[in-house]
Amino acid sequence: MIDYDETKTDLPVGAFPAVALPVVVEVKNVTREFRDDRGNGIVALDNVSLSVRQGEFVSLIGPSGCGKTSLLRLIAGLDEPQSGEILADGEPVTGTSHERGYVFQQANLFPWKTVEENVAFGLKARGVYAQRRSDVAEYLEMAGLKGFERAYPHQISGGMAQRAALVRSLINRPKALLLDEPMGALDSFTRMDLQEKLLELWQSFGTTMILVTHDIDEAVYLSDRVVIMTPRPGRISEIIDIASPFPRNRSSAIFVELRNRVLEKFHLAGAEPPVEYII
């Protein structure tokens, strides 16, 4: 097991195995401040830097309010920082792009469209539906949604809706997929199911994944690296390599050790462990 710590000032080194793949997303000294209702400033992100290489799976964990969603929205181009810079493929991010997909915490499928129409949305919006219409069935199949093509979102389960939202993003073949607690609202069995699906899709597409989660187990199970954030002001306190080959076994000694390490760093970072961990 490769064991090294990274200091906060250094840009993180690439994933395990340490092959010099190109950096897909680079966050450079980004600060984002919000104003609350009374006009007081809230520093959601304070001088945050992070770079993610092509094909990497990175998880962001941290207590509520530490700026995970804010960071993800900035990378997506849904928001702008007060200072610092975000590069995607070396180019400054100025707005959203279908190259950076986003899966929201609530599946937010369009309720007036069927599952199939939801999945086809990106192709139609970009005017490539005619060439790629056969992909829709393929992606629906991948998500295990065969037979539910004509169902409306409220007629399917939460897990199915999240799988649909996942392939709705993936059908655009994004370079990076940003996932904001996509499994937060699911029960643990459905969640494990979706984790497998996510791993499978990640491995077959090689999409760079940035996942926000509050579940340490999930972060360790899925990621190449786990980024621990702390609140007030939102900062990255630690980046931990999960140097263990896939598929991982949640009950293996090495997995337990890695998880304990993340938990320990989490405590060192001054954060309460997420409730979900104490089972």
Binding site: T96, F104, N108, R126, S169
Partner: protein
């Protein structure tokens, strides 16, 4: 077994009303046949439903649920008939009996049909224009910040003015009474539709727009595929409200200067002190408006099939 008595109650009062109408002689000169035809038809209708309900199932349950109400209506028919044309207890000509109203409806059926068509034509023209204009302006005001800034306050002020109050103004602008009435109906339908549409678009969850943008949608594509379908429930809320308001505007504007229509007919009948005709027109109006509302509801349910089971 308890329910089957109620099933009997749905049909018996109509049969009783028919019997009493035949057995008791009227105190006025009247053609009883149309009313008897109605009672016979209703007796046959509820009798058939009762027979079909013998098989049980949801159909029987529906009849059992409605039976008390249907029966009560039959009782009202009978009592009303006895108190009016059979005994003269209710003062004439202000309170004619059901047989007199049915007599008028039958005798003047072609006049009623023509006036119905007049009203429908006016309603269709005014309401279609009003809700089309209302949804378009509502979409613009809801979608564009600039339109919202300039037009929303104006709409709020103009919208609360009852369309009828604008009669003098509209009369100056419009060339004839029909187009005046169309304009009044259109104005009264416009406001509720525009207002709820604008608000509907503004209350669409922001993350739908964000998701669409990230998936590669342009502004115009989002307008067509997110804003408008997302606002359809609100548009229909507006249209339902608008229907009622447009109906009252319709009747009032027909009363103040049209050459046809149910409102005009009521005015005319009032002039002749023909109250049976007035009530006949009111009944026809109710049937007409209920039909229109049902049609609009049908369209709404089709367009909002995606909501089925979502609400409630």
């Amino acid at each position: 077994m308890k329910h089957s008595y109620w099933r009997l109650f749905a049909v018996l009062p109509y049969a009783a009303a028919l019997a009493s109408n035949i057995l008791i002689p009227p105190v006025i000169e009247i053609d009883e046949l149309p009313f008897r035809g109605l009672l016979a038809a209703l007796t046959a209708y509820f009798g058939t439903r009762g027979l079909l309900a013998l098989r049980g199932g949801p159909y029987a349950e529906a009849l059992d649920r409605g039976a008390r109400f249907y029966g009560a209506v039959g009782v009202v028919f009978m009592v009303w008939d006895v108190l009016s044309s059979k005994t003269g207890v209710l003062p004439l000509p202000f309170f004619p009996g059901p047989a007199q109203i049915m007599e008028v409806m039958f005798r003047e059926r072609s006049a009623h049909a023509v006036n119905c068509l007049y009203s429908l034509r006016l309603f269709a023209a005014g309401f279609a224009a009003g809700s089309l204009f209302g949804s378009v302006s509502g979409i613009l005001i809801g979608w564009s910040d600039r339109w919202h800034y300039w037009l929303f306050p104006i709409m709020k002020v103009v919208g609360v003015i009852p369309a009828i109050a604008l009669v003098p103004l509209v009369l100056i602008v419009m060339p004839d009474t029909f187009s005046t009435a169309v304009a009044l109906v259109a104005i009264s339908a416009w406001f509720p539709v525009a207002f709820t549409t604008a608000r509907g678009i503004r209350s669409i969850d922001r993350t739908y727009f964000e998701a669409a943008r990230i998936l590669g949608a342009s502004d115009f594509y989002m307008l067509r595929k997110i804003a408008i379908p997302g606002a359809v429930p609100a548009i229909f809320t507006g249209i339902s409200t608008a229907t009622g308001i447009a109906f009252s505007t319709l009747v009032v504007s027909e009363m103040i200067g049209a050459r046809g229509g149910l409102g005009y007919y009521i005015n005319l009948a009032m002039g002749w002190m023909n109250y049976a005709s007035v009530y006949a027109a009111i009944v026809i109006m109710a049937i007409l408006f209920i039909s229109v509302l049902t049609a609009i509801n049908g369209i709404k349910n089709r367009l909002l099939a995606w909501q089925k089971g979502l609400i409630k």
